[in-house]
Amino acid sequence: MRNVRAASQALRLAGESPRQQYVCRACLAQASRQFHTSPKSLAEEPWWKRMRESVFGSEKSKKAEQSREDKRQKKLEDVAQRPKGELEQRTGARGVDYVVAEVVDTYTHKDYVSSQTWDGLEMIGSEEWVRKRADMGEQYKGFLARKQTQLTNSQWQRLLHHITVEVLTLKKAGHNVMNVCNPRNDGDIPQIANVTIQVKDGKPTLKYENGVDQQSVLSAIDPTPEAPVDEKSLQQELRNATTSSTELPENIQWMAFGLNPTEKLAILKRAMQLTGKRIPDPAISNVRTLTDLYNALKIKEKPKKLAQDPKLDQLKSMGNVQVHATRRTPVHKDKELGRWKLIEDELKIRNLPVFGTNYAGAKLNVVKR
């Protein structure tokens, strides 16, 4: 009977003209929930059973509660068997050791007083908590160069050539390619610019020439660094890598070979270490070849303006044509006519703004389109 009443109410609500009083969405939703077109006999469980479960809990929830209680009892028994003062140690997924807090059974410890306030508890996410976590005594080593160095495109080519030769040499010798970031040994600096990278079928091969061989390249890199690299030596290494009397190859065909993730990381890390230049993560993930890496690192050409187009040189030389690189404003027109001086003087005499407005907050609420 109740359902029928609710259904009729729902239908009335739905069928009423829009001139009727406003009915909130919650009430409409409630009405539609109570409206069923299927007969009650088809419901999976009878109404009284569902009501009983919602009040006293279902069989499933009772079982879950029992299981939790059993586990708690078992844990208390374990704690009781353990020597007093010893805490449970557990190793996490990443190999981090945890000490599990002591479990206190309030039934067995009669002198236990449960806390009524949260004073003394660790506040996760508080400012103090963040400060504590930030300084846990870790010793971080600086990696990137503090000052970013701007290189020209030809210098980027030289630098990438230098690093790639070192990485490929380390790889060929069976060493860890990440050693490329290690400090360099004092002594003779190998002229890596003389080494040629030849690409055949998408695979690079090194051609050592003019007194540079694999051993000299390897011996320059310290395999087991004791001290971290210092800024001054990095700057010197960058200078060595980017300045050379050897001419650059005519094109960048020598870069057209694929990099595996380790090589890519090694080359990029070394480039970042020397120059301090960072590239966005999506750009890094899109890098497949050394050419891609070069394109990501090199200076991007600004889009060319029409006014700078060489085709307009002829136009500019004509007597009846004026080509302007910037937008012409009414002020330009006044200046051409020679009346701007008068306008400016008169505005100043009247204490009016020459350009725009005198009000400082005039452009605060201007929405830029």
């Binding site: 029409l306 307009l312 136009l315 009846n320 302007h324």
Partner: protein
């Protein structure tokens, strides 16, 4: 003093003896970024040099207007201006618009209904009922 006949003075008419182009200046505005200016940019690069050479009496000004559609504005002797938006037009379509602006007089467009239009007085004169051989009778 003998009576002198009225001397008619020739009225200046553009094109009789000399022709002065009424379009004195053309402004070309474009945007470097927007796609609607692609045709205009091509026009400025490829067509405008020849047009400027053929029309030395027209002052031409090329300037960017970033973020706006391309426009050609004609300035005329009578002080009027005629702007034409050339968004999305290709360079040859723009050339047609520019030649239209060049040839325009600057006047507002008017519907022409009579076959002949003249500034000259009628040679026959205006008919009068008092000057005929005989008195006009109704």
């Amino acid at each position: 003093m003998p009576l002198q006949a009225l001397r008619t003075i020739a009225k200046p008419q553009n094109g009789v003896g000399a022709f002065i182009l009424q379009c004195k200046r053309l402004d070309f505005h474009y945007c470097d970024w927007a796609g609607s200016s692609r045709g205009m940019n091509d026009f400025i690069k490829n067509q405008l040099p020849a047009f400027a050479r053929q029309n030395p009496s027209i002052e031409i000004s090329v300037s960017p207007r970033p973020g706006r559609h391309p426009v050609v504005i004609g300035h005329y002797m009578n002080g009027r201006i005629k702007p034409i938006c050339v968004r999305k037009l290709d360079q040859l379509q723009i050339l047609n618009k520019v030649s239209l602006l060049k040839e325009a007089s600057g006047e507002k467009l008017k519907r022409v209904t009579k076959p002949v239009k003249s500034v000259n007085e009628s040679v026959r004169g205006v008919w009068s009922p008092f000057h005929g051989k005989e008195m006009y009778k109704v």
